[in-house]
Symmetry: C2
Subunit: 244 residues, 2 copies
């Protein structure tokens, strides 16, 4: 499995992915699930992926080569806007399905993929999309300013409670790390290290890309601090006066 | 879906279940998923259920009628110990599968059921089991003193972090309510009201059984207090000094 989370904030985008891939529990590896394209001053696009690694890598390879859209060949470096970029990713997914779907089905392998695409192309604000295996997609809005793919349940409660569009990027960085930590603790198929990317609105360059390992002092502080805070918070809530 | 959680603590058992059942999203009802048998001074047994309601009710009905085990007919009121009680529940599940499994399969309905059985029978300490659709089961131990069935992921991180066998029952009551609240917030198929049961070790009677509704003042305080505590806790964690 995988866990990727993206925040869509007024100040920018905060994206985090784990790196665990597994074929069974005795064959685990580290693969980055975060790919990006940058044309400084003009565009930044970041793709996060969950699902079958062969499928997600095939999608990214096709996006590098160029995919037919509206009668001409495009890459994420040439599409005119983010909506077209999401369509392009969806088309790449459909192209992989057309090429490999039947062979996968013959081996009883599900066409299991979900992708997140975030970024900004000059002329419009940043946008964040979730692309499904069918190639269709949804977009984060100010109502629900986060998207998740993969093993999303463990890390969702904290996001449901506190993220909003006005959350500062600096707090968003804390939140995605807390959300990832909850997932890492409860699910073995999500694993360290993790990749964090921050994009500042109208920056048109990646503001931060950082690989965070088990030894990272800040992430260790988050893990320990969050656990201690949860313990403290639950102890401080009053007991019911009907304890038997 | 459903969410049920049970804590296995030195002081006793704390069991909580929601009451939502749904056949599609436009047909939801309230059914208790908590059944119990009590022989004051001698035994208390509590069964929590998740999965197809027709199957879980069929299992409970068979347990009321009596199930063949080791050549004689038993109910939860007659089995000699908790291990036999778990076997009896498992046998009831297998009997339902034998009676209904083929007809369910013909309608493409999964034989979807999981059960929790907790309690104490005089002569041994309290025990807590999780019975699978195959009728086999596992038991909570001091290493991992909680079990969950149904929609378990949202409410697991807090349990993973703080529950241990020495947790007082009064704190365990808070914890299962927090765990349930995280699940209720993030998943529509788990719904209020909720049923809480507390059994005190060597009490041989149910210490507390309480239906908690949306209006319950204590549960509202837990919901609001926990949300506020999480917000506060994340705000108090320091920001990384590498914020871009």
């Amino acid at each position: 499995m995988t866990y990727c989370v993206g925040l869509y904030l007024r100040e920018g985008l905060v994206l985090l992915s784990d790196t665990r891939t597994n074929a069974g529990v005795d064959n685990i590896s580290v693969f980055s699930k975060m790919q990006s394209e940058e044309v400084p001053g003009e565009r930044v696009l970041v793709m996060l992926s969950a699902g079958n690694l062969a499928i997600t890598q095939a999608v990214w390879n096709r996006l590098q080569e160029g995919v037919q859209l509206d009668g001409s060949r495009h890459t994420l470096r040439t599409v005119p806007n983010m909506f077209r970029a999401a369509q392009l990713v969806g088309q790449a997914v459909r192209d992989v399905f057309a090429a490999d779907g039947a062979a996968l089905k013959a081996q009883d392998v599900r066409f299991d993929i979900s992708l997140m695409l975030g970024g900004q192309i000059a002329g419009e604000p940043p946008r964040l999309f979730l692309v499904y295996a069918a190639g269709n997609f949804i977009e984060a809005t100010t109502d629900t300013p986060f998207l998740q793919i993969g093993e999303h349940k463990y890390g969702k409660p904290i996001l449901d409670r506190v993220v909003n569009f006005e959350t500062p990027v600096a707090d968003g960085m804390k939140l995605v790390l807390i959300s990832m930590d909850s997932t890492l603790r409860s699910n073995l198929t999500v694993g360290m290290p993790i990749d964090l990317l921050v994009y500042r609105t109208d920056g048109f360059a990646v503001a931060l890309r950082k690989r965070i390992t088990e030894e990272d002092a800040y992430f260790r502080m988050i893990r320990e601090g969050w656990s201690a805070a949860l313990r403290q918070a639950y102890l401080e809530l009053p007991r019911p006066d009907w304890v038997p």
